[in-house]
Each structure stands twice: as C-alpha cells, then as structure tokens.
Amino acid sequence: MTEAALTKPGPFVPSRYRVVDRKTETFDITTLWLEPVDPPIDAFKAGQFNMLTAFGVGEIAISISSAPGAPGAIEHTVRDVGAVSHALSQSAVGDIVGVRGPFGTDWGLESLDGVDVVVVVGGVGLAPLRGAMRYLAEHKSPKRAVALRVGARLPDQIVFPDEIARWGEMGIDVAVTVDVADAGWTGNVGVVTQILAELPFDGAGAIALVCGPEIMMRFSARSLVDLGVAPENIRVSLERNMQCGIAMCGHCQLGPYLLCRDGPVVPYAPLAAELITESER
C-alpha cells in the first residue's frame, strides 16, 4: 500500500472548508460560499449534494447551489429548519465547516441538448437546480426552449429573485407565483401548477426538472403529464435522511433506492411516482 493511500482520509472524514462569504436570501434561507482549507473534494455535477458538518453540532446533506466547473467558491444554500442547519446558517465569514462529497445523482445536463426543458421549483427547491439553470441560461441553443416556473409562499420568500429576473432577460420563459401577496405585488398569485399550464412549447418530448416540497412535486408532475410530458422524462429530486452518503447505512432507503447513491435525482416514472408518497423512516 502506498503512502498516499495510507494518508488519504476515509469516506467519513470531512475536508475543512472556510466560509468566505454569506448571504441571507430570505428570513430562513442562507447561502454560504466555501473555499477549501484541506485538499478539495472532487468535482461535482448539478443536482448532487454534499454532507456539511457544523463542528460540534452535526452533519446534514445540503445541495450544491453553484454551477459545476464555475471558478471560485462552492455555494450551498441552507434552510434553517433544525440544529445543524441552524448552526450552518449562523456561520460567519472565516468560520470552518466540514464538507464530504459530492454524492448522489445529478440532473443529467448532457441529456438536455436539443430538447425543450421545463424547470419547476418550489420554495428553496431552486437551490439544487440553480446550477442547472445557470448552465441552461448560459448555453442557449436554437434547438432548445427553456421555461422556469417558480412557486413560493410569499413574495419575500422567493429565493434568488435577482437571478430569476436575469434568466428572464437571457431568454428563459420565466413565471413566478406566490400563495398570497400584498396588493403591491404585480406578479401571479396562485399555486405553481396554474402557471405550468401555459408552456411556450409542446410538452411532448420535453424534459422536466422538478424540485421542491414533495407534495408540490407530486402535483407538478401530474400537471406536467397532463401537458403531455412523458412521465419518464420528468426528473424529481427526492430527499430522505441522508447520513453516510455512500449507500452503507440505509437511513435514506426509499423502496429499492438508497437515495444518497441512487438519488436525489430520480425519474418520476416508473418508481418515484409511487414512492413519493412514502414517509421517512
């Protein structure tokens, strides 16, 4: 055994990364920019996730919200819902966090050439799709139309609003809706499936990328099927209790899937359509 092999950290040892910037996106969502202190993790693909450690608190799975291959720090967008995510959300510039990864399946950007793409997101669900959206916006093709449909509870809970507007200026067909709003809001008010109804292209042959709360994904997937999108062309991002990240511990099992390895991105058909209603173990 070589010296390098002996000194290579095991799969459960996180690399230390420094928080070099942070931004409060909404009242409970924060984006952290991380740069390596130790040798960096491997290159990632859009849709994959890392296990982030708040030292002394714990480790959780967080989607990577920057684009693959982009220079500079890796971005992770964290929603403050528990002890670890709270600690990560509170990280200050200069703090050290742990990073293991990248893990799981991706959105398959290489399969999106020459096909129309509809991206449907709810709440913080745009974070795992942000890298894919940046790729689609920056790699425009006359053979591919792209539509983005965004749902949020309130206008001030829309994540990355400036970037969404910029994508619209770059030729993406963008529609945003909220559940309720003050009269000053001139956008749409209603459920995200309502703004799905008017796609700028035929759903047949299109590929759909869907990420958000699972109930929203269920309703969105059904609406997409009604619009002619083939169920096998709908990709959803499923999350369960990711722990080891390498399909050993079984905490993230969902039917035949170990989602840390076989997900988070899975085709809606044939399995996810049934599994998406199963609760966490």
């Binding site: 559940d179 001139t186 309502q194």
Partner: protein, 155 residues
C-alpha cells in the same frame, strides 16, 4: 374585427361548444376594457356579470383592517372572472382589480341565467363547463391550503 361569437368561442369556458350554444351567449355579451387599477368587481356589490378575459390580468383581493389589500389569486388571459352571478345572493365576495390593461367579454349574468332556465340543454352544457372550472379552482385552493412551501407539513 373578430365577431363576438369568435371571441366567446376562444375562451376556455366555451371552447368546443356547438355554435348554437355560443350564439345563445352572444346575445348577452359585450366587449369591455379596463385600465390598470380599475375595480372590476367590488366586494359586497351586486354580482351580475361573467367576464371572459381576453388580455391582461386581474387580482382578486380582500381588504384588510390595516387598509392594505391582500391578493388571494390572479386571473389571467383566457380565464374566467366572476362566479357570484351564478347563485344567490348575487353579490361579489372579493374585489377584482385590473393589474394590466384588461380586455374582456362581459356576459350579463341575469341574461345568461334566463337563457339557461329556458333552454335546459344550453343550461346543462354551460353548467358542466362552469363546474369544471370551479373544480379546478377548488383544487388549487386546497393545494394552497397545504402551505406547501411553509414549515408545517414538509419538515
């Protein structure tokens, strides 16, 4: 210039219905336009019109004690605005305010009800379509009651 029957037939509520059915609605219809900010529906006022939106969006909103209205839904082109003319007490339940310049076909609700009463075939066809739209709105409202993006249900 498009005929009124064509304008009505293009709306999702009437699309695909026989010409004879469309013609019955034509007799109750007129073209209307509203500037942004116009109150098309006024909460508590008599409800007597069904609007088939051709262009622009309308915000359904409710006045709050603070004075700042709350928007509960937006209705867009090719959709239908206003159901309270259909059943007693025929009063608008919410305000409907034009967000953009709005063009619509306004169908007199009393006229439409009278024709539906007099011609059950027409009335049944109309109510089946209306039921479909109302069911869709009800389902959307139920989904929003789930507070999908909030903390309560998905964490």
């Amino acid at each position: 210039m498009e005929e009124m029957s064509d304008l009505i037939a293009k709306n999702s509520l009437f699309a695909g219905l026989p010409d004879s059915t469309i013609e019955l609605a034509v007799g109750c219809a007129q073209n209307v336009a509203f500037e942004p900010g116009a109150r098309i529906l006024v909460e508590g006022e008599p409800a007597d019109t069904l609007y088939l939106l051709r262009r622009g969006r309308v915000a359904l909103q409710v006045q709050r004690p603070s004075g700042k209205p709350l928007v509960i839904e937006t209705i867009g082109p090719n959709s239908v605005l206003g159901w309270s003319w259909l059943v007693p007490p025929y009063r608008w339940q919410f305000d409907g305010v034009a967000i953009d310049p709005v063009g619509a076909v306004a169908i007199d609700g009393t006229c439409l009800r009278a024709k539906a009463d007099a011609d059950p075939v027409f009335g049944y066809a109309l109510l089946k379509r209306i039921s479909g739209v109302l069911l869709s709105r009800l389902q959307s409202t139920r989904v929003r009651l789930l507070d999908l993006y909030g903390h309560s249900l998905d964490d």
